[in-house]
C-alpha cells in the first residue's frame, strides 16, 4: 500500500475515533471536570495557532500584510470574505515585493 493511501486511511480512522470517542468515553462521566473542559475548550485555537506562527515568523511582507488583513477582516466579516480579500492582498503583495 502506498504511503499516501496509508495516511488517508489511518487519518480517517484517527478522525473517526475523535468523533465517536467523546461520546464513548467522556459520556461515561456524569460531569466533566471543569479543568478538563477548560483545557478541551482551548484545543482548537491552540492547535491551529501552532500551524500559523512558525510559518508567519519566516515569511515576508506580502505574507505579513495578508495575515494582518485576515485578522482585521475576521472582526467584521465571515470566513469566505476574509479568505478572498486576504488572498488578494497576498497576490498583490507578491507582485510588489517579489
Amino acid at each position: 500500500m502506498s504511503a499516501t493511501l496509508w495516511i488517508i486511511l489511518c487519518g480517517a480512522v484517527a478522525t473517526y475515533l475523535t468523533r465517536i470517542g467523546g461520546h464513548l468515553v467522556l459520556s461515561r462521566f456524569d460531569r466533566i471536570h471543569p479543568r478538563v473542559e477548560a483545557g478541551l475548550n482551548a484545543v482548537p485555537a491552540a492547535v491551529l495557532t501552532t500551524l500559523v506562527a512558525p510559518t508567519a515568523m519566516t515569511a515576508g511582507p506580502a505574507e505579513w500584510a495578508a495575515l494582518i488583513v485576515a485578522v482585521l477582516m475576521s472582526l467584521r466579516f465571515g470566513m469566505l470574505a476574509l479568505f478572498l480579500v486576504s488572498a488578494a492582498v497576498l497576490i498583490a503583495g507578491r507582485q510588489i515585493f517579489g
Binding site: R19, S27, N41, T49
Partner: protein
C-alpha cells in the same frame, strides 16, 4: 392516515429542514473543498487520493494539515498523528452531542458521528438548546448536503488544480496559513483565548526552531491547553466560533 405514514412524512420534512440548515455551509465550504483538491495535487496526491481523503476524513483543517505535512515529506505516522491532533477537538463536540442523540439506535449513532463537523455540531447543539429534538433525519439532511458536495468539489479541485501553471504567483503556498488564522480568530470569544493563542504561538515558534516540525504542533498546542486548564475556571459553556459556524472548517 396511519401512524407510520405520518412518521415517514415527518422524517422527510425533518430531512429537508436539515438540508436547508446545512446549505449555507455547503456554499461557504465549496471554495475550500476546491482549494484542498488543488493543493493536494500540488503536494503529490493523485486526483483519486485527494477525493478519497475528503470522503474518508471529511475534516477540512485536518486534510489541509495532512497534505501540508505530506508535501514536506514527513514520516506517514507523524502526518496521521497531526491529523489526529487537529481533529482532537471533536472529542468534546462528540461528548456534548452524545447527550442530544443518545436516543438514536446504535447504527444511526455510528453514522451520525462520522459526519460530525464544526458546523454540524454547532447547529445540532443550537437546536438541542432551543428545546427541540435532534432527529436522525434532520441531522443527516444537514450532513448529506455538506458531505456530498465536499467530496465532489475536492475531486474537481484536484482535477483542475493540476492545470494551474504557476502556483506561487497566485499565492497557493500561503493560502493555508491565511485559512488557519481565520479559524483561530473564529474562536476568539472563548475563555482565555488571547493568552492561549499567545502562548501556543510563542512555544510553537521555539519548538519549531529547537525540536523541529511537526513536533511544534503538539508541543505548542499542549502549552496553550495546559495553561487554559491551570487557570481559575471561568463559568461558561462550549462555544463554536463564527468561522466554524460558517463552515470554513468542516
Amino acid at each position: 392516515m396511519s401512524a407510520e405514514v405520518i412518521s415517514e412524512s415527518t422524517s422527510a420534512a425533518e430531512f429537508w429542514a436539515g438540508v436547508r440548515v446545512g446549505f449555507p455551509v455547503t456554499v461557504a465550504s465549496a471554495p475550500f473543498a476546491v482549494l484542498f483538491g488543488a493543493l493536494a495535487v500540488e503536494n503529490g496526491f493523485t486526483v483519486a487520493e485527494a477525493t478519497l481523503m475528503s470522503a474518508a476524513v471529511y475534516g477540512g483543517a485536518s486534510q489541509m494539515v495532512g497534505i501540508e505535512l505530506f508535501g514536506q515529506s514527513i514520516a506517514p505516522w507523524l502526518v496521521v498523528l497531526s491529523i489526529f491532533a487537529v481533529n482532537f477537538r471533536h472529542v468534546l463536540y462528540s461528548a456534548v452531542l452524545g447527550r442530544r442523540v443518545g436516543h438514536w439506535p446504535i447504527l444511526q449513532q455510528a453514522v451520525g458521528f462520522f459526519v460530525l463537523t464544526d458546523p454540524q455540531y454547532a447547529e445540532a447543539e443550537r437546536k438541542g438548546e432551543a428545546g427541540e429534538t435532534v432527529s436522525f433525519a434532520w441531522y443527516m439532511g444537514m450532513g448529506a448536503i455538506i458531505y456530498v458536495p465536499w467530496v465532489i468539489e475536492s475531486g474537481l479541485g484536484a482535477f483542475f488544480g493540476s492545470l494551474i501553471p504557476d502556483p506561487h504567483a497566485i499565492g497557493m503556498d500561503f493560502l493555508l496559513p491565511i485559512y488557519f488564522i481565520g479559524l483561530v480568530m473564529g474562536f476568539r470569544t472563548r475563555a482565555y483565548w488571547l493568552p492561549v493563542v499567545a502562548i501556543s504561538a510563542a512555544v510553537s515558534i521555539v519548538a519549531f526552531n529547537v525540536v523541529g516540525s511537526p513536533w511544534h504542533v503538539s508541543i505548542g498546542a499542549a502549552a496553550g491547553i495546559l495553561f487554559a486548564a491551570a487557570l481559575p475556571v471561568r463559568p461558561g459553556k462550549l462555544e463554536v466560533g463564527p468561522g466554524a459556524q460558517e463552515g470554513a472548517d468542516l
